[in-house]
Amino acid sequence: MDEPVDLDTQIEDLVSDFPESVGFLIKNGVRCIRCGEPIWGSIGELLEEEGIADARGLIRELNAFLIQKK
């Protein structure tokens, strides 16, 4: 099955297409909506800004979580 999210996925798309990502990412120390609005830019950029060392690994876990939810 295709992975729904990659590092280039825009956060605006992520939160509208996969809102359950929000809770998953918060549990992993990343907030992708603030004041009710998505952060601009890609999830890869945000993970880098937040200093997530293994961004690819986190995206793999996020994809597994989303596929399992489906």
């Binding site: 509208s16 359950e20 990502s21 918060i26 603030r34 004041c35 609005e37 830019g41």
Partner: protein, 507 residues
């Protein structure tokens, strides 16, 4: 719903880039954005987003329009804004209802938001004759010195979903009176209200033989937003949104030495002192925390209460919360509608999970309301043992944290401990405590109230806050100065050439 859209000239598919009645810009590459009714999850209508090409058309038109708009005397510019206010009066009801349909605040709040637009138009009309500069006495004889305020140019206004029309009006009515032209990027969650307003603006501009004064470029932050903040033609960016995004906007705009007005996050607290009128406090806290489903920048998020009245106040607030009806925001008996998106619900639930881990005890609410719809939640009260990490963060949802204090020094310290500084309030019947709260020892916020909630100022006051709230001011008072540039002028009407500071140069 259909009749609301018809009254506002909205179609099933609408164009999201426009500068005037004959200047709707389309591009085959435009992507559609579907506006969703958060109460039902059903689509309302679609908007074709601005592309790089149509953004360029909008910006070029606004930039060119500025060249002639700035030459229109300010009092005559005020007449255009006056007509805009009159037109908004005509559509107050459908526009207010569209606000409710599109973002989920209850109908009376939607209507109130449109009233705020009307009020700021009235304010801007008066302001158009009062763009005063000072005159100063020159230290050089035969010289006259004064300052005057000139328009800035085309400006960008980027707004959030929670006040989809009022914040645009605060900025645009004042900016237009000041001689600027405005490009508006609304939230992608509320594109239809922006198109509806553009139709009104188009009619007013056409009546006055104008275009390009009021413009829209509806699109993603990553596309339209990034273009705006990096565009040197936009001399000012007025941004309403989160602190995180505000930091990004500020960095980009300051890199090109543009100006910003930033209205960012709030984490607003009410201090309830031992001598407060608790019934009044409880009612105010309810409206402050539950109104707009806790999605206002000025929502009450923290209650810092004296330990001697804590239990009594807590029980009163819980009782009030239990009477809140949650449901369809168009229903007049409903006090709280849905959150704007499913993601916002996830954000709230994640924050509640963290609050519990940090010792929080949910006293009321705390759950989703799936029977009402995917975006409905219970208004929630959490008693916290102290001001933990999650309490320092702004969660855009109806979560109210309760904490206790022993003396007023501790209350103010707790109040100011958070990084945000928008709105603050105290309930007390002690004059000395009230004055102390309003003194320089009090809250480090842009707004401080006594015996009322953490509401924003009326449009006559300047709205905004300190610290991570960004420092910008919008709306009333002298906020207009943010939309103009100050120029100091000196005129020598003598035949001499004296220098200031007594300097002799040459002869």
């Amino acid at each position: 719903m259909k009749s609301i859209l018809e009254k506002l000239n909205l179609k099933d598919v609408n164009v999201g880039a426009c500068s005037g009645i004959e200047d709707w810009y389309t591009d085959p590459d435009s992507e559609e954005i579907v506006s969703i009714n958060p109460a039902t999850g059903e689509p309302i209508a679609k908007v074709l987003q601005a592309t790089a090409e149509t953004y360029e058309q909008v910006t070029r038109t606004a930039d060119e329009a500025f060249r002639s708009w700035r030459m229109v005397p300010a009092p005559k510019r005020g007449l255009v804004v006056r007509d805009l206010g009159a037109a908004l009066r005509e559509i107050k009801e459908p526009l207010g209802e569209l606000v409710t349909l599109e973002m989920g605040k209850i109908r009376v709040e939607g209507l109130g938001e449109v009233q705020e637009m009307i009020d700021i138009c009235d304010f801007a009309l008066g302001l158009s004759r009062q763009l005063y500069g000072l005159s100063m006495h020159s230290e050089r004889s035969g010289h006259r010195m004064y300052e005057q305020w000139h328009p800035l140019g085309a400006i960008g206004v980027i707004t959030a979903f929670n006040f989809p029309v009022a914040v645009w009006a605060w900025n645009s009515a004042i900016a237009a009176a000041c001689g600027d032209t405005v490009i508006w990027k609304p939230s992608s969650d509320t594109p239809l209200t922006a198109v509806a307003i553009q139709h009104v603006c188009n009619a007013i501009m056409a009546d006055h033989g104008l275009k390009g004064i009021f413009n829209i470029a509806i699109g993603r932050g990553a596309v339209v937003g990034e273009k705006m903040i990096n565009d040197p033609r936009l001399s000012l960016i007025s941004f309403t949104g989160s602190t995180k995004m505000g930091r990004r906007v500020a960095e980009a705009v300051s890199k090109r030495f543009g100006k910003t007005i930033l209205e960012l996050g709030g984490n607003n607290a009410v201090i309830v002192d031992k001598d407060a009128d608790l019934e009044m406090a409880a009612r105010t806290i309810l409206f402050g925390a539950v109104g707009t489903a806790g999605q206002r920048c000025t929502s009450t998020r923290r209650i810092i209460m004296h330990k001697s009245i804590a239990e009594d106040l807590t029980q009163r607030i819980i009782k009030a919360y239990k009477q809140v009806s949650v449901g369809d925001p168009m229903d007049q008996d409903v006090l709280m509608g849905p959150l704007v998106t499913k993601a916002a619900v996830e954000d709230m639930m994640a924050a509640l999970g963290q609050a519990k881990k940090q010792g929080g005890e949910v006293l009321c609410g705390g759950s989703r309301l799936p029977d009402k719809g995917e975006r409905f939640v219970e208004p929630t009260i959490v008693r916290m043992p102290e001001q933990t990490k999650i309490v320092h963060e702004e969660t855009f949802a109806p979560i109210l944290y309760l904490m206790e204090y022993e003396d007023i020094e501790e209350a103010i310290r707790m109040h100011n401990e958070v990084p945000q500084g928008l709105s603050s309030a105290i309930f007390t019947t002690n004059l000395l405590t009230a004055e102390r709260f309003l003194s320089l020892e009090g809250p480090d916020c842009g707004i401080a109230n006594v015996n009322l909630g953490t509401l924003g100022a009326e449009i006559g006051g300047a709205f905004g806050g300190e610290k991570e709230t960004g420092g910008g001011r919008e709306s009333g008072s002298d906020a207009w100065k943010g939309y103009m540039r100050r120029q100091t002028n000196t005129i020598n009407w003598s035949k001499e050439l004296p220098l200031a500071q007594g300097i002799k140069f040459g002869d």
